[in-house]
Every structure is written in C-alpha cells, then in structure tokens.
Symmetry: C4
Amino acid sequence: MATPQFKELRRSYGFDEVAIVPGDITANPDHTNIDFKIDNYTFSMPIIAAAMDAVTDVNFATLMSQLGGLAVLNLEGAQTRYDNPEEVLTEIAQASGAEVTPLLQNIYSQPIKEHLIGERIQSIKKSGAVCAVSVAPANTKQFAPIAAEAGADIFVVQSTVTTACHISKSYRGLIFSELRESIPIPIIVGNCVSYSACLELMRTGISGVLVGVGPGAACTTRQVLGIGVPQVTATMDCAAARDEYLRESGRYVPIITDGGISNGGDLCKAFASGADAVMLGSIFAQAEEAPGLGYHWGMSHPHPALPRGTRIKVGTTVTLEQILFGPTSVTDGSQNLVGALRTAMGACGALTIQEMHRVEMIIAPSITTEGKSWQRLQS
Amino acid sequence: MATPQFKELRRSYGFDEVAIVPGDITANPDHTNIDFKIDNYTFSMPIIAAAMDAVTDVNFATLMSQLGGLAVLNLEGAQTRYDNPEEVLTEIAQASGAEVTPLLQNIYSQPIKEHLIGERIQSIKKSGAVCAVSVAPANTKQFAPIAAEAGADIFVVQSTVTTACHISKSYRGLIFSELRESIPIPIIVGNCVSYSACLELMRTGISGVLVGVGPGAACTTRQVLGIGVPQVTATMDCAAARDEYLRESGRYVPIITDGGISNGGDLCKAFASGADAVMLGSIFAQAEEAPGLGYHWGMSHPHPALPRGTRIKVGTTVTLEQILFGPTSVTDGSQNLVGALRTAMGACGALTIQEMHRVEMIIAPSITTEGKSWQRLQS
Amino acid sequence: MATPQFKELRRSYGFDEVAIVPGDITANPDHTNIDFKIDNYTFSMPIIAAAMDAVTDVNFATLMSQLGGLAVLNLEGAQTRYDNPEEVLTEIAQASGAEVTPLLQNIYSQPIKEHLIGERIQSIKKSGAVCAVSVAPANTKQFAPIAAEAGADIFVVQSTVTTACHISKSYRGLIFSELRESIPIPIIVGNCVSYSACLELMRTGISGVLVGVGPGAACTTRQVLGIGVPQVTATMDCAAARDEYLRESGRYVPIITDGGISNGGDLCKAFASGADAVMLGSIFAQAEEAPGLGYHWGMSHPHPALPRGTRIKVGTTVTLEQILFGPTSVTDGSQNLVGALRTAMGACGALTIQEMHRVEMIIAPSITTEGKSWQRLQS
Amino acid sequence: MATPQFKELRRSYGFDEVAIVPGDITANPDHTNIDFKIDNYTFSMPIIAAAMDAVTDVNFATLMSQLGGLAVLNLEGAQTRYDNPEEVLTEIAQASGAEVTPLLQNIYSQPIKEHLIGERIQSIKKSGAVCAVSVAPANTKQFAPIAAEAGADIFVVQSTVTTACHISKSYRGLIFSELRESIPIPIIVGNCVSYSACLELMRTGISGVLVGVGPGAACTTRQVLGIGVPQVTATMDCAAARDEYLRESGRYVPIITDGGISNGGDLCKAFASGADAVMLGSIFAQAEEAPGLGYHWGMSHPHPALPRGTRIKVGTTVTLEQILFGPTSVTDGSQNLVGALRTAMGACGALTIQEMHRVEMIIAPSITTEGKSWQRLQS
C-alpha cells in the first residue's frame, strides 16, 4: 500500500546553512547606502538593539541613536520594575547557573511601576535620541497611552508569537487597528515567522514587523514548546509577505530580523534573505556599555511557570562603536558589523539594502562542520 | 549506462529535525481542550506512562490516574515475577554498567507468578484508578483472561513489532478479532510504525495503536537489528492510517506515540504529527515516585540471547505532578509538560488536539546543532 | 544567467543513514532460511570472513567453515610471506601508532613464497573446510594455477577497484573469461560499486561479486584518493545489476557486501539493500580466534608509496561462535549476528534472504546523532 | 495561504560531501597524463603553490618549477615590504594566538618597496624557473608594468572576489582588456565562484581563472561576511563557464581551484569537479622548504579594519618533493599528492585531466561523520 501524506513538511534554513554568492559585478563598499526607514524616521544603519534587559537601558538607547541606529527599551523589564535596576542586574550576573532561573523568576515577578515608564522615556528623549519602547500584547492597552504621552517615538508590541487575531473566551484580544488610532506613533509588532501571519499583521496598518521565533542565543522555546522557524526561511517568508502587501496596498512595511544573528556573516545573510533591518541581542550584550555585565538572557526566560531561556555568558569585549564600526583585530565576525555589511554588499555589487535583497544565496554545509576540518589541521 | 533504482528510499524525520510553525491566529492556552478518549474512557490529558519497570508500578499507576492520565503496568516485568519487586529494582539501580545487562537477563528469566497478576491489578483498582496492563503477544492467550477477570480496564498487547498477522510453522499466531471476543475490555496494540501495518491492525477491531519502533531513549533496536522509524514520520504515517480507517469504517481509533519524547518540544511535535496521545518512559522515570530509582531501561533490554537496550541514568528530579503541571525553574523542557502543550497549542491557535494535528511543521536543523553555536558564545 | 549543470551528483547512502521498516506481517525467526549459494556450494549462513591478515588464517578459515560460513585466505599477506606469520602479527600488534605503517610497509615488502600458498590451502582442506583464497589481479595469472592445483575451492580476485577491462600500455590486463577457462573453480571478483561495472563483471562469467570501495573501518581510500561509495547505495546499485544480469542471462550471480559493517544493524541493512552475503573484517577481528590479536588493518594499508589504511584497535571480546550465534550480554549489536539477522527478518515477515531484499528501508537521521540525545539524559 | 518563494536557494557541495565513483574500466596510473597548460606554458603537473607568505618565496617558487609545477609570489606581502622577510615571518610564527592578528595588521601596513618587486622576480628568473606573481586589483595598474619589465612570466590579479566590472564613484575600476594590452604576458584572474562571473572574466581575454571564495583553511570570510561557495559547486559552475566560453570563442581558458584542498582526496575531487589545476596553500605550508615555519595564514587576514583569517599551525612534515611525489608512510592523504591523483585517475579509467572531468561523483555523507564510527571501534 502506498502511504498517503498526512502533512507536508517544508525544508527550512538557518544562517549556518546558507552562504551568499558574490555578484557578477562588484562595488566600492564606501558607496553603499544602508539607510533604514520606519514611517518618517530614517536611520543611517539598519541595526536595532533588542528590547532585552542585558542590552538596552537609557544610556545604551542614547548611544545607539547617536551612532545612527535605534534601541528598544523593554517597559516590562528591570528598568520599570526597579528604581535602581543596576542592583538586580548585578545580582543576575553574580548568580550561579543553578540559582539564576529562580532568581530571574523572582526579580521579574515584582510589579511594574508606572511612573518609571515615563521617567525612562523622558531620560532617553532628553538626550536627543529617538525613543522606542516595547510592551507585551497583554499590557499594551494599559501602557501604550502612558508611553505615548511620555514622548516615545516608536511603540513595539512584542511577545514570542503575536498575531493579528487572538482567541480568548475571557478577555478581548488586542486589535492593532484600534491601537493605531489610540496612539499617534509608528507601531512595530512581533514576533512572527510565516507569510500569512506577517501579511495579516501588515494589513492591520502597523509600521514594521519583527521576524523570528525561537532562534535567539538565549532562547529555548523550540526545546520547551517545539515551536520555531530558522531565520533565513522566516525572513524570506516574511519578505514575500512584505512584497505582496506592497503590491496590494502600495505601502512598504519593513521587516526586522530579530534573533539568531551571532556574527557579521549572519547579519549579511539576514539582508540577503530580505530583511530591512536586524535586531541584535547577544552581540550587543558584549559591548562595554551593555547593562548585562557580560551576561545575556531572554525576556521569556523568567516566565513563572514555564521559563524558556538560558543565561549565557557573552563576556565584555569592546565599545558599542567598535562592535558596529571597528576597527578590529578579531577575525570571528563579532566586530565591525557595519564594515562587514558594506564589504559584503560591495562583493555582491549591491549599492542599497534593496539590491542586497536580490543577491543569490546557496545552501551550503554549515560553518560548524567546516570548522572541524580546520581544527584537524591545528591539532 | 543509467542505473536502475533497486529500491526507493523515502526520507523520514525524527523530533529533532522538525519544528512547529506558529499559527496565523493565537489562542489563550487556558481554553485549550486536551482530552483523550479510548472507547468509553476519557482522560483529561493525553499522556500515558509506559509499561516499563522503571516507570509504572501500582503506586505510579494510581497517581497518574488521579492526575488525569493513564499508566500501563507491564505484566511480564518485575511486578509479577517478584513478591517484593523493590528489591530487584534496587539491585538494578546499584549494579555497575558492566554488570547490569547480565543482571537484567537473570532477573527477567525468573517465572511470572500468575497470582501476582491479579493482586497488582486489584491494588490499582482498589485506589479507584483506571487500570491498564500490558502483555507480549506470546503470552496474551494465557494472561488476558486472568487480567480481565481481575478487573483490568484496558488491555495492551505490546512487543517491539506487532502486526495483524504472524507467520509461524510451529504455533498459531494471536488473532486480535478473537482476543476482542474473549475479553470485554478495550485492547490497545503495538508497536507499529507504518501506514499499512497500522491500518491492518485497526481493521481487526482494536481500540488503539501504539506507534514507535526504535526511538526510545533506552532502546538499541536500530543498532542491533537495523530496524526503526523516526517518530515524526511513524506518527504521521499511522495518523494517515487512522484517518483512512475513519473514512472506511466511521470509527476513530486513536494512535499513541510511544518512545523518543525527551522534552516538551518533542511532546508538542508528536501531537502536531498526528498523535492522539503520547506514552512517556524516560521522562517519567525522573519522577520522585518512579520505581526506577533514577534509572531507566527498556523492556527488550533483558532478552536472554539478543538484548537490545541500555540502562540510562536519568536522575530523580521532582514529583510527577510537577513534571506534568509545573511550575518549574528548569528551562530544558523536561518539566511542566501539560503547560508546554497548552502554550504551544495557544501559539498555534489550536483549541483541541485535533486542531493541533493540522498545524504546520517544517524541517529544521536539529536543536543539537544549534546548541553548538550557543556553546561557542558561552565559552 | 542560469547556471548550466556541469555534472549530476546523485545522493548516496551509508548504513548509518538508513533504517529498515518492519513489515505488515511478522514471522517466527526460527523459520527463516538464510542459506547462501555460490555455484554448487551452499552455506548455511550468508557471512564470509574477509581476506585480511587480522581475520583469516588457516585456523579461522576452518572454524568459519565448521560454523556454516566461509573465510577467504589472502595469498598475498603474512600467511604466504612468512613461515611463522604469528611472529609478524605479534610485531604489528605491539608496534606504536607512529611505527605501524612503516612496519607494515616493510613486512609486506617481503617476497611471497609460492610453496606456502600450497601449504596453507592444503591445511585448510585437510580440516574438511571449503577453502577460498584471494589474490590481486596483477598476481592472478601466476598464483591462480598454484591455488587451484593445491585444492582451493573458490578463487577470489580482489583489489580496491577491479573492472572487467584494464587499460595499460605496458602489460596485458587480466581477462576473466580466460581465467575461468584456466581454473575449474568458482571465481569471485571485486571490489566494485556501480551498476555498470558490476554488470560488465558478471558478463565475463564469474560466480560472484564483492561490493564496496572505501567504507571499511580500517580503510582511508576516500581520504587519500577521494574515491568511495557508501555501502547502501553501492549494494543497491550492484543488486540492480545482478537482477538485470539474471534477466538477460538467466544466471543468478550473488553479490557480497564487503566493508563498513560494524554491527548487526548494518548487517541487516546490507541484506535489505540487496546483498546475498556479507564479508566482515573488523567485527571478526574481535574474535578470540582472530589472528590479529585485537587489532585490525586493511590490506591496502601497507602500499609502499601510498598507504591507504589505518590500524585500529578492536579488542578481543568473545569466541567467533558467540559473535555469530550468541548468546550475549552486550547490547551494541556486535554479537549474535545470525540471531540479529533472523530477528530482523522475522520483524519484516521475510522468510528468505530474497524476501529480505524486498523489505522497505527509509532514510533516517544517523544513529550517531540520536546517540547524543541519549548522552544528554545520561550526563 | 500558500507561501510564495522569495528566493531560490540552490544546494551546493564541498569536498567533504562528495566522493568519486570508480570507473567501468580501470587504467594503469603510470600511463596517465596530468599536464597543465596556460597559454604557451606547459607544466608537468597541474598543481600551483598559492600566493601566500607562508607558502611561496623565491626559493619555494624555484623548487616548484623544478618539480614541474608553478608557484605564485605575492607582490603585496612580506617579500616586497621587507628586505629580510625571514625576520617578520619568524615573528609571526612566534607570536601567541592573541597577539598574531594585531601583529599581522602591523606587518602588512608597512609600505611595499618597488625595488623589491624587481629583485624578487629576477631572483626567481635567475634560477631558470617560470615566474608567476600576484597583485590585488587596486595595485595592478601600478605594479603590473614593473613586474612585466622585471621578467615575470605570468601575472595574477587576485582578491577575495574579482569581477570583470567594478562600480565606484571615486575611481575607475581595472579593465582587464586594457591590462592585457599593457603587459605582454598571460593574465590569471580571481577569485570567482559563479558561472556568470567566470564567463564574463573569460570574455575579457584573460588566460586563466582562480576559483574559490571562502573555503581556505585559514580563511574566515564566510563567518565575517557570510560570503562563500563550497568548492565542488564553485568548480563545477566555473567549469560549465569554461566549456560555454570554449563553445562561443574556440578558446580554452583553464580554471584553477584555489582553497579548501586539505588532502589527496580533495585534490582528486577538484579535478573530477572540472578543475584544470589546483592551487594549494595549507598543504604546502607543511613543507620543510615553506617560509611559514609550520604556520599558515590567509592574505586577507591582515586587513586593518576587518581581518578575515586565522593563523593555523600546520606543522612542518617532509620535503615538498615528498608531499608531491612520496613515498610516504602517512595514510591521511597529506603526502604523495601526484601519486594519489594518478592512482585515482587509474581507478576511474581516466588517462587525462579532461577525462577525469567526466568521471562520476556522488553526494556522500562526510568523512568526518564516518570517522566517528571508526573512533567508536578504537575506544
């Protein structure tokens, strides 16, 4: 008997499994344009710091803005639960591996202080920076007006998986078209990973989509829930949604690849997969200015009943400026990310991010595997 | 010369190679329905404890039933060969790695005491629990009437591979339609892994099928015999058989994925592959109440001439209730399995197990491989 | 520009990448027939000991024959170069890793003593065993008549790659049809791995083909020369040639899978891939009676200018009889190979080797990969 | 909703993933012809030493020419920046892992001395060797006339990615048709990896193409930039371009696979992939005569702002002559490369490199993976 197919399983790809093919013409890296736009905001580089407590605080957000990018402050993390968040961040950094999850669960079970939401936003604004903040869908109705009133420029609604429609018998889900009318600033929503979910989100009128479920360095969602899509496929599918939405609406909604980028190579591949910008966590946690003190953890890590994360030691290396622009003497792709992007674009003859969307990629054996043969030579 | 194809090799998939794609809509996990039915029995969770000596004894079966699930007592293990099985279970736990297989071979060569079959069943029944018991095909004609008479509610016929038809010159194989007539209780049969074998089993009128050959954590069948099918493919193929049998007969025979589930992620993927329930061994062997004392071994391990298993140290972690319902501070997916299932269903917008059968899955690089890049960051 | 395809690359498979799917019916293992025939010789098991110095000497050949199988004595190894081969075998076992290749190169550079060819063959014949001997193509014209005259029953012409046609400006290649006329005994030729090469060999009128280039445990041909075909694909392709040759000639020429079988699972998969028999090296080198003293090395290892092998320590475990027939307490598939084959055939409902050729196999993630998740549980 | 495809991802292959299938006929290795031609130069072996400071200096170039091959001297490395390059090469060899990249950045920031260009070339020519030199595109206009005038026989223009057309607003890119007219010697250009880029380069009238971006043992381009194509696919695609260019122009432009070849197996596969010659770095760095003193590093390693390489310890083993022609007692494929090539050609029945282009290759599980099962046997 022939076996009928119960379900089709499509092959998906992560960064490690693909590589960029250089172009038929090359270009001078200095002439590449890597601007990134959300509504009326234009940034001189398409790189965003993640809404994670190990990465973005007021100071880091200010610095990112000064360097031409954007950082997102998490309004449900340590910064709004504690007057002096440095204390709990130090505790987290000093906890042993066995202690850290219960400690995080305890730290993040303390109440959010609404007055701190306003204060943090005002501190960022005072520096002259563009201020982006994030809230989970459940708290959005409560906190969005506070944030908008305090002067936030961009509002991010973010949870592990966010869709245009949420079913519940006990409460009314968040309606993004209503949220758009209630606050007058651009709204970015995430995370999502599929063509149809992304397209539905765009149809609600939002200004940007975060792409990525499961791939982050500090995330164990796939192990705990079985859910996740590798970032190359997720980005390509959401890029297809963006292009389809552009065709049907005339509006270009950028997609931001969030999670799983661990070096310049991954970053370049995200753009070759169709990303308009990338959101970085663990790489920025290595910056001297990062509040995580050399550690990094996910924001779904502290869930009280089903934590899904791991605290990783990333170390503290160099300044944020060097991570972004170099120069560097490390050769593993963790520094001079903007230089790497421009160089890769040059090698592909891509003068803009949108030209970079069209370069060829191939499926290739993972770097990890190749690495083994290098090690053989070194032993 | 072109090479003719001697045989077609279909690609199969295990849990580590797939991931669930979140849905276009999401749902509140609290509103998901995860009931599981076998004939007239309804359980409030679709999780069954395996018929393995390291997992199920009278006490564990009672507890599983109280928590809403089911456990299967093996009628050919230590529980029916020894008046005080705790003694030999302790011996197994204390044996060195080199001693353990000969010790198991010796322990399981002792005769089964028929009076213990009745006593164990009655103890389980006395607690108010639903009582399920298992026997290998060769002993079914002898033990099934004893078990039914003692009050067993569900009868499981289980061996590494069980089919609707067994060829032998020297004895008459077990005929399931006859067995059904001889005992008035639901019969579950396993294990099987293919569409056609599963369909033939269902056509004998049985009430459930166990799916899985080779994947268990303590099983070396594939290494010893070359036989085995990874669980995602096995489950999908048997789900296709279930659906075909439903079309041809109008009767819904549930399939139970048995083996290879090592965390919440695997469990969720089993349901996304089409399972109606899952049977767990090594995860439950970690419970404080498990009789294996922190060890786990397969029931084909003690074969006198061709043992196919390995004793693994799983450790003792928390109570069965916490493994099933949390809360937890571990982030590797080994605890709060019901919470993980409901959360994953919510992320997929699946309100019932049957809706979970229809969610999208993708082929993705294995978690193990991804893990390496995390470790690079941590070193 | 679309890229034209320079060359098609077909996917091939090794033992680790496939698994056998159990059948829709099962059979009693005791009733399986595993006879193997070469011309008029019938063996009660389809297992042959390799023509390697670590495996086959006079004593081992005698024992294999008594147990129902066959062993091949290499006429160009230590047995015919040394009156007391035990001395050099001991030297090899005692050499350090750095010394062993030069030592082998020296040992195998000593001349072959023609009188020892006759003596070894006569010793085997005296025991009542079927005597099979092997020679490389270059020496066949010289040694074949000596071997036939001394009473050899089966003549094996074996080199890394042997074809029906060899091009040389300086000498006339071996013509198998001529060889068949010059010696009146069955001729087995190898090794080959492709459909067309195997078919051409069969058309020369020989009686059996050895299948396998590169996969042996002690072979580095693929690393040194880039040449090799994984054994599942090689066996399937040669099985297709055997079936085609049967159609065109009416003659059934068995194929013998040689190399890469490291446990019972691999052995069963070889038959499911179409093998009529298997040739074992490293597994048999573990027998108490093996002349290799717990070590194993390939016969192309000692090449004077381009050695292609490695000496591996396999250890000495149990008797040959236990390796073949058990019983055993090891669970890794290295013992009770005949029991494993019969059990697998039973699980597939295959009563003969030819029925075993028709069972389903699937492509599955490698056992090695699965092993990792077991280890996670054990740590 | 069905997901539209944003971008097609073609599967590519590296050396480790393929294997050569032996032929239907075999040939005597002694009769194989492995000549390699560039314009009017004919070399008796198709092997070129890389333009890397750890490999080629005046002495090494002389020796390679005497042995029948070719070496390329890098005109932008230590040899033209330092009167006594041995001093800095010793410094590099003695630096610690942490110091080496900054040290390389400093060493290679010193100015190139034009008079040394002439002197090095004349030293090579004085020995009677064919002299090949390399320069990056940016310096080609300046150094090419100097090199030609000093007597260089072959001029190589090499950078990570070189195309027929380079876009820059600030300077005029190198035009190869102009370069050809300005110097009267054969020009080899690289590196490239795709059909179309290679074809465009050939159409400029150059005499050879270097193939390979990213695969070298000491290169981290793929990690830093995400760019790279595994060598089997890169070579096959460029071979298709060569064949197309031959059809359209009647001119045969050889392709040289450069990078990623770590043993004889890889080398043989390069030719089976369509290469006319191979360029070796890390293997030759192991020669007693290599200037790298047992170390190897890439020439894009010392980039001042974005270094993309790693220094690897390759060790010093035997003479260059033994690496090329043996005899040897190592069995890992790192020595007797010419013997390996001729032996592989014999096993494939290929009498010339062009016949070797037509042999069958298969996709096979990587040697690395196979290695694991050997190690299991050895533990």
